[in-house]
Symmetry: C2
Subunit: 711 residues, 2 copies
């Protein structure tokens, strides 16, 4: 892995390139790609390959990659699929380090293509060749003056590394970036991602300190558990648009790429765990990359506003609060200093309103005051184009002042036509500037969320620390195999196995005793009132319709009466030497729900094919669905992390002892959750579990209804 990752530089920063399928016909991709390589100013060697030979765009054409005199770092293949495999053979012979297969017609099309793709992937892997694609747009490395793709745009150099599973998404993003001069370090279209995928690229980019931001458009995530680990390790913001969250979109993905989109809740939980910044729209992704690329992180939630209009200042305030940020309180000192430089009608409190006839100097004064104010962590400058507004001068002031501070300064220039020149100036000097308030504040909010995540540096617990050697692994596997062989969906494990596993992980159950001895029963009852009493004879129901179960027995008198009645029933039914079950009867409890579903295959913690077990915690009992008070977390979690998840639920508020009620047994509830976690990580064959309810009292937490499914 480490070897491969380091050699990705042969792809992102090659010294020599061969283009297999280079063409003189401008309608063909092979022509476009060659032009792009030349136009982007690539300084290494470029070898067009085409059976026809001759010259293209002044370069000598070779008929075969093997004829090329020098070494080849990267070969770009843009020929029909049936010829691709033999070119790969040539690449192996020529010791090419990286291959980009632009050609389509592989696993995204049919079975035959899928088979071919697999063969090619295997060959590349065996020969340590990095493979990008197939079915991709190519790669752009502005840092290496290289556009090895058929994208029409050459983006600026910059500090963003970007990957996309959709070529069209690349195109749209590049087109947006042209307008705002947003620069990229690498820009990679991963196509069917049979080798180079999000995992390899994230690891590779993590080692490059010139890269400040990583962005990714993904339709499905390869090796979920690995992804979480890589994303967590990444020392920079990772912004991801994961499409296919709705069931309807998953169908569309299936017909589009043949891949599975995965559980959207698992994805959301994975992102939360790894500190991934989730976005949902193309423009949102672009704006978020702009913010992270161009501005420092806000080190706190407090925003200061300077505006030349009250209305938009109010909308900005609403938007700040809506996004979980705060309005900065300006100190008396700051307000006083503003009074001295602003007209009387101005507002010197936050939002600072420099009013409609403000020229650039008033904005400058307002921004300077916010830079100096300790209570301000970030600054938003709102401008509406009024009669004497100095749009360009104000933009220049913002740009100059941005250089003097570690606080992010975001500009919002409202309108369109009149403010264009101001936006242009700000974008040219890499100051985040927006034409909509929400886009600015939403970006700022994501940056602050990332700042908090980084500062807290949450740990990613090691799965091994939460696993044991399962005593009943053979039994589990056997049952799994039966289920799979019978082509059944996930099946509940037999009660005996449930009991064994419950025992193995010491899951607490209500206290109980089974005996034929009345004195023993009574002693137990005395220790546990109220209790339930029943006959253990299972087939009693067939013999009589008389009552043989009594609940909520409060004292010896009630207990004795119940015992006598059952005894009589049993005697009449012909049961001699009856065994009784006495159990504590828990009345005053809070029901808690613990559930889990597995994302990935039954060998998940080795295969890493998905995200593993997703745990759901919340209000239990018969109204679990109605309350829908559920929080999710992917395993494994430390005890502290389980508590953190649980503390987001409403049932947590109740367990803490709201409204004068006693605190419930929170530690004991967390104990159970930790035990269930261990059970799941030990037995990855478990497809789902349902513990509902867990009864949580002031003293303990016990499970009363356990369902374990294997599949």
């Amino acid at each position: 892995m480490a070897h491969q990752a380091s050699t990705l530089s042969s792809l992102t920063n090659p010294k020599s390139i061969a283009i297999v399928g280079a063409s003189t016909d401008p309608q063909k991709l092979g022509s476009t790609i060659l032009s792009n390589v030349i136009d982007s100013g690539f300084e290494g060697d470029v070898y067009p390959i085409n059976l026809k030979g001759g010259t293209i765009q002044g370069l000598q054409v070779y008929k075969n990659i093997k004829e090329v005199p020098g070494d080849i770092d990267t070969a770009c293949i843009v020929i029909p699929r049936k010829f691709v495999e033999s070119v790969i053979d040539d690449c192996i012979e020529k010791d090419v380090k990286s291959v980009v297969i632009i050609s389509a017609g592989f696993s995204e099309v049919d079975e035959k293509g899928a088979k071919l793709e697999k063969q090619i992937a295997t060959k590349c892997k065996q020969n340590d060749i990095n493979l990008l694609g197939p079915n991709c747009l190519g790669i752009l490395s502005p840092d290496a003056n290289l556009n090895l793709s058929f994208a029409a745009s050459h983006p600026q150099k910059g500090n963003i590394a970007f990957l996309s599973q959709s070529g069209a998404f690349c195109t749209a993003m590049l087109d947006l970036s042209l307008e705002q001069n947003l620069g990229f370090f690498n820009f990679v279209s991963v196509g069917n991602k049979v080798d180079i995928d999000e995992n390899k690229l994230i690891n590779y980019w993590n080692e490059n300190s010139d890269i400040k931001v990583v962005g990714a458009y993904l339709e499905e995530i390869n090796k979920g558990i690995q992804f979480i680990s890589n994303a967590h390790k990444l020392d920079k913001p990772l912004i991801v648009l994961k499409s296919g969250k709705s069931e309807e979109a998953k169908e569309a993905i299936a017909s589009h790429t043949g891949s599975m989109a995965g559980s959207s809740q698992a994805v959301t939980s994975a992102f939360a765990k790894a500190g991934v910044i989730e976005v949902n729209q193309i423009k949102e992704m672009f704006d978020t990359m702009v913010g992270f690329s161009w501005a420092p992180l806000p080190q706190g939630p407090n925003v200061g506003i300077v505006t030349n209009a009250g209305g938009p200042g109010i909308i900005t305030t609403d938007t700040i609060i809506e996004h979980g940020l705060k309005m900065a309180n300006l100190s008396d000192k700051t307000q006083k200093s503003l009074t001295e430089v602003l007209p009387q009608a101005a507002s010197v409190d936050n939002p600072i309103d420099v009013i409609g006839d403000a020229k650039a100097d008033r904005y400058e004064n307002g921004i300077k005051a916010l830079i100096q104010e300790d209570n301000v962590d970030s600054i938003v400058v709102v401008l509406t184009p009024q009669l004497i507004t100095q749009i360009e001068e104000t933009a220049k002031n913002i740009m100059q002042l941005s250089k003097t501070t570690d606080k992010p300064i975001f500009a919002v220039l409202l309108g369109k036509h009149y403010v264009q020149s101001g936006l242009r100036i700000l974008h040219d000097f890499e100051v985040p500037a927006f034409s909509d308030i929400k886009n600015a504040i939403s970006t700022l909010s994501k940056m602050y969320t990332f700042y908090k995540y980084q500062k807290k540096a949450p740990q990613l617990p090691n799965i091994q620390n939460y696993q044991v050697d399962g005593k009943y692994e053979d039994e589990m596997r056997k049952f799994l195999k039966q289920t799979q062989n019978s082509n059944k969906a996930a099946q509940p494990i037999p009660e005996t196995l449930t009991n064994k596993i419950t025992n193995e992980f010491a899951l607490p159950l209500p206290a109980q005793a089974i005996t034929v001895n009345y004195d023993e029963l009574l002693t137990f009852a005395h220790d546990n009132f109220p209790v339930a009493l029943k006959a253990t004879t299972e087939d009693l129901a067939h013999k009589t319709d008389k009552q043989a179960v009594f609940l909520d027995l409060k004292d010896e008198e009630e207990f004795k009466r119940a015992y006598n009645q059952i005894e009589e029933v049993l005697r009449n039914a012909g049961v001699s030497e009856p065994k009784f079950l006495v159990q504590e009867f828990i009345t005053d409890y809070q029901p808690l729900f613990i559930g889990s579903n597995r994302d990935g295959d039954p060998n998940i913690y080795k295969s890493q094919s998905g995200f593993g077990h997703l745990m759901a915690l919340g209000y239990g009992g018969i109204y679990t669905e109605i309350f829908n008070d559920i929080e999710f977390t992917l395993l494994p979690n430390t005890r502290e992390q389980i508590k953190e998840t649980l503390s987001k639920t409403k049932v947590w508020e109740i367990m803490k002892g709201a409204r004068g009620k006693e605190t419930l047994a929170i530690q004991e509830a967390i104990d159970i959750i930790m035990k269930i976690q261990k059970m799941l990580l030990t037995y990855p064959q478990i497809k789902s579990v349902d513990f509902n309810p867990i009864l949580v009292t002031t003293e303990k937490a016990v499970a009363v209804d356990i369902k374990i499914f294997v599949g």
Copy 2:
């Protein structure tokens, strides 16, 4: 009212205009406004007024409005505030019909300005003069070729009527509209809105069939109840951005306009009742107006997509589902017809993917199929700029096809630079075209919501039908006055008054009896087991610490034991002939919460100063705050509307009888809510009520804890 409303045409479509403060100095607003009137092509008479006389821009200047030879429909005043009142006197003398006061310095500045504003408003009202402003940008009536404002832009003619409480918001909106050729019928900056406000304009615009859409930016709403009624009556979409929802923003509004922003929940409920389309951002407002202005309403939720790229198709699908719309199912016939015209690699299911090498003809085929498909209610065309994409031809096709169908067709052209020409074509021909998926889908979703609202035509119940003559109105008023005189916040009314009102509206309480007679007690108990029994002697607690209350008595045996014990306690405490209270003891119930807060003053249903009583319904009991299962509705509501509100809560699911449980007494619960509604509408002095819990059993609903506050 009717008279005034009709004469607003003297403002929106005047035959003659005087500009008081017209100036030769281009730095002055009086000069800008005169230029705007001339440049906008106004064909009526224009009279510049200035003490200096002479000519300005070729027009003769009059020293005083009274010197003008002809009639004056509208006088626009743009001089320092101290001179404004005498000009109003002149206007009265001259019989001017409408006045626009551009000048600032009134209630938004200080007490003196507020007083002056009031005097001017009174004079105008007494003389039937429409007054726009003060402190506003003016009015633009593209339909009348009139820009009577100091806004720099002349927008196109169109079918949108727009009003704004912020001049800067106007400026930003006009600048946006220039870029997209969005046209307006009227565009009004209402400033301090002392006379012409949202209520008058909405009524006026309702009568004009050339107006298709009404938009408003508001910081506070004048006369809330009237607003609801007017907005409800309006036969066109009303799109409102109401800023100042956060507490923080309310502070900013207070310092900005001196007005109160009101409860944001009341505003949201008012909008829901009146079918107002709520937006939160400037661009969102603009896009929403574009959709309603240019496209027909979708008559169903089913969206069909045509795209040239899988990834953006998936993002669009996710966004459609997220916004509550649906993906249309395409019939076999449609899919088959598409197979015939699209290449094999295309997807003929929704989203229709015409793939990356699609030219305009494939888009045309895809859109035509969706137009013909009965299951499709609206069409979204997604385009990414790929190598051979025909952007302009495709735009022209979309434009042509839009003319052939009653289904809305929205275009989303992703990217920026390359797609500009396509957007330009679509905007020029008034086809909604967006550069972001979310903006398109969010607009479509709002249009469908409005379609459903219009189709359902929900009634607005008449307050009078839900009021009675309160028996205790004098007592209520007296108590209110006491509270107000003592400068106290809202106060709970005395228990005796609570009992009287509870009785007046027949609010059901738990059944109970008070008597000295054991047999009567026992008879009651038999009818109501389980019961609670207690001594009514109030000062018993001082005489003994023995138990004199017993709960949950299940049968005669338990009842008798309790009676004897209390009797003994009483006897020992020296109480002779003790009175007992026996009450049904309700154990198996669902707690329901009913609360209300009043928006507006204690005379609200006459003053209409606010929105009236906002009712909150939801899960009751001690965890009301934790569950936060609350739905709101403004009074009055029909029984059906109360049910509709309640049915959005989770407690409703429980009351309906979830999970095999019996259905609870829903009708009886609604009865109580209707009674409480009547009580609130009868006694507007009530500032808030708190009925928590209402116990709802399978048979009835009773109130056990009633709190009524007046203030």
